[in-house]
Amino acid sequence: MSPNAFYLLASLLFSIGLVGLVSRKNLFVLYMSIELMLSSVSLILATLSKVLGDAGGSVMSLLIIGVIAAEAAVFLAMIVNLYRAKKTLDSDRFTMLKEGEKND
């Protein structure tokens, strides 16, 4: 079987992650879409590892899994904090990036 299938799958996953990032307001879904994108990259790396015959690709994927874990911790803590502050999981309510008027 050819690696092209894996590549196709990875691209699709990546785009699904992007779509989820852009369309949903729920903070958790946001987070999980980001994880998905990261995972698709690690899939590509693993495929390449087999194509090239080098085990380094797998090691990279392993390290990426470590990064995923770290990111999970920070992200989820932040979501908890945000919920405590605004009692909402709507990413559209957090508009401090906007200039000018008072944003609550």
């Binding site: 690696p3 699709l12 958790f28 998905l36 590892s49 015959g53 874990a69």
Partner: protein, 175 residues
């Protein structure tokens, strides 16, 4: 043949799971979709002769990340009304999938220029991975450990209950 069918099944799992993840209104159901995707990914790793990676994926991604997400979701325990109202969800998804399409195509086309046949390789066992980790990849390994440490500390700091901090100045004022 066997490989292909396994691949197909796993791929369907992953795609279905991810689509379910991004389109569900309830947060918990999204988490379930995510779980399925991660398990499918582990299967993919196994298919690619990276056993240790597959196990690590299950341990970390499923066992730690998904569990933690579930925990947080259930702890936050958002009521129905606090969930964001997303009336145009499908419209947005359609619109952004159209926008994302060229990028996806480019990505696939670029990737497919890479050599497209698998080489014969032994299973990448833990022995191989371990050897590499401590010889060629020791620096990223160490940095990763620092990263985990700082992430842990950061998570604690961010997640700390800040109400206690706010109360202290008030007490001082009363005196």
């Amino acid at each position: 043949m066997l490989e292909l069918s396994i691949f197909t099944i796993l791929a369907l799992f992953m795609l279905g799971g991810s689509i379910a993840m991004i389109s569900n209104r309830q947060t918990v159901f999204s988490a379930f979709g995510f779980l399925v995707t991660m398990i499918g990914l582990a299967g993919m790793f196994a298919l690619l002769n990276a056993q240790f990676l597959a196990i690590a994926q299950i341990l970390v991604s499923v066992g730690a990340v998904v569990v933690l997400s579930m925990l947080t979701i259930l702890t936050v325990n958002a009521k129905e009304e606090n969930l964001p109202k997303e009336p145009d969800k499908y419209k947005w998804m359609l619109f952004s999938s159209v926008i994302v399409l060229p990028f996806t195509v480019l990505l696939y086309k670029t990737l497919s220029t890479l050599p497209d046949h698998f080489s014969d390789i032994d299973t990448i066992s833990s022995k191989v991975v371990g050897k590499l980790l401590f010889s060629e990849w020791v620096l990223p390994f160490e940095i990763l450990s620092i990263l985990l440490l700082s992430a842990m500390v950061g998570a604690i700091v961010i997640g700390r209950d800040s109400k206690k901090r706010k109360q202290k100045p008030e007490r001082r004022r009363r005196i």
